[in-house]
Symmetry: C2
Amino acid sequence: MKSYDIARIPGDGIGQEVTPAACAVLEAVGKRHGIVFRWRPFDWSCARLKAEGAMMPQDGISQLSGMDAILLGAVGFPGVADHESLWGLLIPLRRGLQQYVNLRPVRLMPGIQSPLVGRSGADIDFLIVRENSEGEYSDIGGRFADGTPAEAAFQTSVFTRAATDRIMRYAFDLAGKRSAKHVTSATKSNGMKHTMPFWDERFAAISAEYPDIATSQYHIDILTAHFVSHPDWFDVVVASNLFGDILSDLGPAIAGSIGIAPSANINPERDYPSMFEPVHGSAPDIAGKGIANPVAAIWSGAMMLDHLGEKDAASDVEAAMEKALLRSDCLTPDLGGPADTKGMTRAVLDNLSGSGAA
Amino acid sequence: MKSYDIARIPGDGIGQEVTPAACAVLEAVGKRHGIVFRWRPFDWSCARLKAEGAMMPQDGISQLSGMDAILLGAVGFPGVADHESLWGLLIPLRRGLQQYVNLRPVRLMPGIQSPLVGRSGADIDFLIVRENSEGEYSDIGGRFADGTPAEAAFQTSVFTRAATDRIMRYAFDLAGKRSAKHVTSATKSNGMKHTMPFWDERFAAISAEYPDIATSQYHIDILTAHFVSHPDWFDVVVASNLFGDILSDLGPAIAGSIGIAPSANINPERDYPSMFEPVHGSAPDIAGKGIANPVAAIWSGAMMLDHLGEKDAASDVEAAMEKALLRSDCLTPDLGGPADTKGMTRAVLDNLSGSGAA
Ligand SMILES: CC(C)[C@H](C(=O)O)[C@@H](O)C(=O)O
Ligand SMILES: CC(C)[C@H](C(=O)O)[C@@H](O)C(=O)O
């Protein structure tokens, strides 16, 4: 009997609805694999910000450091500026817990229709490895001549060799475990004349350490075009914080739904807990209606199991989820189906018990 | 008889092939509308950089200032770092000539197949208004501890109120002339905590000056996803330099081909000549083969005519181009056809003489 302490941070909006769904699935698969989850609930959110003046307590990071992993729903609230909520919670967690890899699979699932003509599952199956600790998301900068006609805003991107090299090595190591063994780098060294040429230099240096891995490199503008025109070109895509953010929304769009895309914020050294969260946001427009698609949260839960070393349990969840997606009567409205969050979750649970995996 | 001094800068690679095509079409339409073009050739390019040490002469900007417009092919050369060629020519021209608007139409043309399921011309027809003078493309920054493990690169984005306001006003004015009257702003105020909240503030302020124009605003990540899932949502999209760059490659991709997308670098005050160039690059892989698609250059020429006030001539070129695209035997290989650059150009010319527009 293995047991894990899991911080559970549903957050705001549909985060409150999809996190319980993911936990129910994890509980169920845990029973069959002899895994116990000790859920540690945290109410950190925009709601808490409104009530108590901060998204999380001052010692938030240290409260989490003893956990085995973190399951996050979504944060964001009408009336709270996005940069407040994110710099008040998501970004401090990613950085404070050294989760420097943001791993985002892009896969066209069985049962899901790609918006791209003639594309099937074989064409869309790749991983985005996003740098998650620095880059364009920086708090260096500010405002000049605030409120006057001469007003200007400045912001400085920061790319260190340490952080650039480690994210690239992660991407190459990952590619080494896949059959295509190919890493694509997202750059913009023609426009960003200081940071991106540096990124390219490091990509060349690290790729030299991996002679068996093929490489490509595209400027981010044409790379987004290639996602649409040639999704089959990609295996592992390594990108800066901002470019990875963009590609990991565009990727799920070509794979048919942003509502099902998962992500993992990983500290590969395991000095700190890693954090698993849907790519989607808190979706205030549908929050409270019980119709949010729980698949992204459930899939994120599967990534958590995988990270914890529970490979069999992770595969069971993925398989159950894939089967559920094939049943059009179990899909939520964002996928064109009639089901609600509970119905879709139930379909996953049913497949899990039917999987005979225990 | 009107006459215009046009700087003709074919540049590198296929720029050398598509620029003559555009000029031939402009000559032909000029004859029918009583317009004379006085072509002023400039050899500014990576080839010149190799031979003479600079992409353009030191007084390049002032050599161009007296022109009525500039027709540019493409720049870029294997062996010349992109940031050298661009910061040596394209970016200094855009900035030195105060071409602060980069206007890029995204339109699904008759005869072209969108890669998106079920999309027709009615769904994909919008304009990208890209800020072209500042933003993320900045030369402020540098390298710390070069060559050591502590190495880091820094780059500072600059957003001024003056430049932000003027690009937004341009977008709103343009939307006012269209039927949908809708402006979408590309932001990332959740991640970029200094520059993008400022961008949002200015968008709110300027939109208040235009009560009749509807607005939307999306973070760049989900906006790229919406280009794929909901291209019909867009009318005029206003974006920073980097975001506009990305969106104006992704846009043509959903509209079926980057090979035909045109762009205009505009100085709205007409203190300086504006510059018209295809979105595509110099394409070293097919350069010299005579098979480059000339449509982007021809369409850019039509945008030039429009800017010069020659609206009828501009419409004639667009109409001739649209008709040529309907003839599958006249398409270049990038569009799946058998024609070469000359053949495709001839098809446009044929339609032009058949248009009875003189
Ligand atoms: C070549 C490059 C610097 C340029 C840009 O990013 O501005 C190009 O991509 C464009 O869109 O005109
Ligand atoms: C909410 C936002 C700050 C965040 C990001 O850009 O990192 C989100 O888009 C994501 O991709 O996780």
